[in-house]
Symmetry: C2
Subunit: 343 residues, 2 copies
DNA sequence: AAATTTCGTGCAATCGATTGCATCTGTGCT
DNA sequence: AGCACAGATGCAATCGATTGCACGAAATTT
């Protein structure tokens, strides 16, 4: 049997016949402790395998050095890459990261946000679930002045820092690109438009059509949850129109891919007969045939930025707050799925 | 200005002229408190927006309801899906999950494991970095009898629960499959064979060759880190042999894909001229052309299993330990990259 | 030599919730 | 009436680290 209980500063204090305060100060390199004492204490701490009890420290200092992240799904490439970016910066700065997934359920999101609060995270970074339509659960953070950052799917009405991409511009440029390639009737598959992201992309899409004097027909716009199934449903529905489209701008790459698969199975050639642009630049988009034109969000960079911002807020809590909305650059990646020679 | 400081059980106690112990017991539904008092207390707690301070509770109860996860990279599909599985089960059971990535660096892994310990996680689930060759940093967990589970990349010599797939069988069946398809000279691209996973896959590969009376030539085995670049390097090297292979079993799908890209660029037809089998069933593997034959690990299930196991250990700490190694089933998914008609 | 700093350390309270052990008030039983 | 006992609540210690304040000794200033 090994030591049943952990080594505490009191154990060290007792053995060295000093007080616990001295040990605490020595380990924290407090200048008030003499060099000799510090060395003695640190040596013994090492020898005994002392590991500070972060919990006790957290309780006393009212700081956990922990950043909470709530995302819809951990294993979606955009989110996991974002998280990776946060984690990188956080780790460097001595912060831990705790993560939960809402599974796109409002109820779970509420539970998680509560739990993050009870765990006294120093700050919270979050992207809303598809169902989120009230924001009361974030009030405890804003009330207590705990840094809160929204990214991607944000709550426009809440005072907080926000990190987004210009979804309107994305929608616009994707659509314009299709128009430039000579596609005539361009449809759009959107996600739930309660979310700013999908809403803005759609507006960008509409705006591009308008600018080019193309009609924005309701039939050509479908909203769903953008799963693979949804993509297939949508393309079937679109092809069944009396006047079907010859291109689609999809709200994500997953649905774009499932459309491609279906179109191929129907002998419809891409990009010759039909153009597709997706969104997100999933890893597969580059390597499928045809490769998928898409919009790339700088996920890792967004994560890094979010972490920098929130750590800065945490460590300068005294300062008066100014909330910014940071718009990160996106890139339209043109690949095969939309690269027909102009008709 | 809102309340500057949070509501504690003492605030509730004072207002209701009861003691803090009573409040604590009431909120925890302790049967010793009368129904009437409980209701009064709970009502006021709700009204004041009381949120328990988990930190204080954690300190007192010596339990954090937190599970630590350390993986090489968060944004690799296998790992993020595994994490998602853990998180699902953990959440259901009232546990939080804290996650860090080692970036495949031993040094970072050590720091993280230390930090997880200092944060007093109730249990740790981990998959080793590519560099990990000593295991001292896990001793503090085993010494203090804190549940520890390894998955995928494990430390064979440590006493702990382990969750793996049968990598030997995987290597064997992948190779046998290529042989069955009539490929004659089968190469293998492996990861660092200090890791059990890569080592076992290679042994399985060798064993299949042997069983089929095919020579296992050193030239045909390459070890690297299996990145995209590595895959390309490897295939170039293999094709440059005086007697090049006509098939490769790759240690992951990423390198398999980069081989495919290179082979296509050289006009080598897959699967007619060359067969490829990968590993992991990345999302892209199904949708690239040709689609990649691969081995599917049940990532989500492995995560769920790991969580169940560790929570069980945590909650039955008194019981004598028996360490098990759980081997999860894999599936050889046969797709185009290896499906030639037998020569 | 007296007065004032400086230095190194200890005391004790604190963070917020939990819990073993009293304590007190009724109720039931003989 | 007397006693046991159950029910409801409070007291105070505890978890481990931190920190404002105090104190004694040594060093410096006047």
């Amino acid at each position: 049997m090994e030591e049943k209980t952990s080594v505490t500063i009191h154990d060290i204090a007792r053995k060295l016949r000093v007080s616990a305060s001295t040990v605490s100060r020595a380990l924290n390199d407090n200048p008030r402790i003499s060099k000799a004492t510090k060395e003695k204490i640190k040596a013994l701490a090492l020898k005994l395998g002392y590991q500070p009890n972060t919990i006790a420290s957290n309780l006393r200092t009212q700081k956990t050095h922990t950043i909470g992240i709530v995302v819809p799904l951990i294993n979606r490439h955009f989110f996991s890459t974002f998280i990776s970016g946060v984690e990188d910066v956080a780790f460097e700065a001595g912060y831990n990261v705790i993560i939960s997934q809402s599974k796109d359920l409002l109820l779970k999101e509420k539970q998680i946000v509560n739990s993050m609060f009870s765990n006294r995270v120093d700050g919270l970074i979050t992207s809303l679930s598809m169902q989120t339509n009230d924001f009361d659960h974030f009030k405890m953070f804003t009330n207590k002045n705990i840094p809160l950052i929204f990214f991607d799917r944000i709550a426009p009405q809440l005072e907080a820092n926000k990190i987004i991409v210009d979804d309107f511009a994305c929608g616009y440029s994707a659509t314009q690109h299709l128009i430039d390639k000579g596609y005539q009737r361009i449809a759009h598959l959107a996600g739930p438009t309660v979310l700013n992201t999908y809403h803005d992309r759609m507006e960008g899409y509409k705006s591009a059509l308008k600018k080019n004097h193309l009609p924005a027909e309701d039939d050509l716009i479908i909203c769903n949850r953008l799963t693979r199934m949804d993509g297939q449903e949508a393309i079937k529905q679109l092809l069944a129109l009396k006047n079907p489209p010859d291109a689609v701008f999809c709200g994500n790459d997953t649905s774009a891919l499932s459309m491609i698969v279906y179109l191929k199975s129907q002998g419809i050639r891409i990009p010759e007969d039909f153009g597709i642009v997706g969104f997100s630049n999933e890893p597969f988009s580059e390597v499928v045939t045809p490769s998928i034109s898409t919009l790339k969000q700088p996920a890792q960079e967004m994560g890094r930025k979010a972490a920098e911002l929130i750590i800065n807020e945490i460590e300068n809590k005294a300062l008066p707050r100014t909330y910014q909305t940071i718009t990160m650059p996106t890139e339209l990646i043109i690949r095969e799925s939309s690269s027909r020679k102009k008709a």
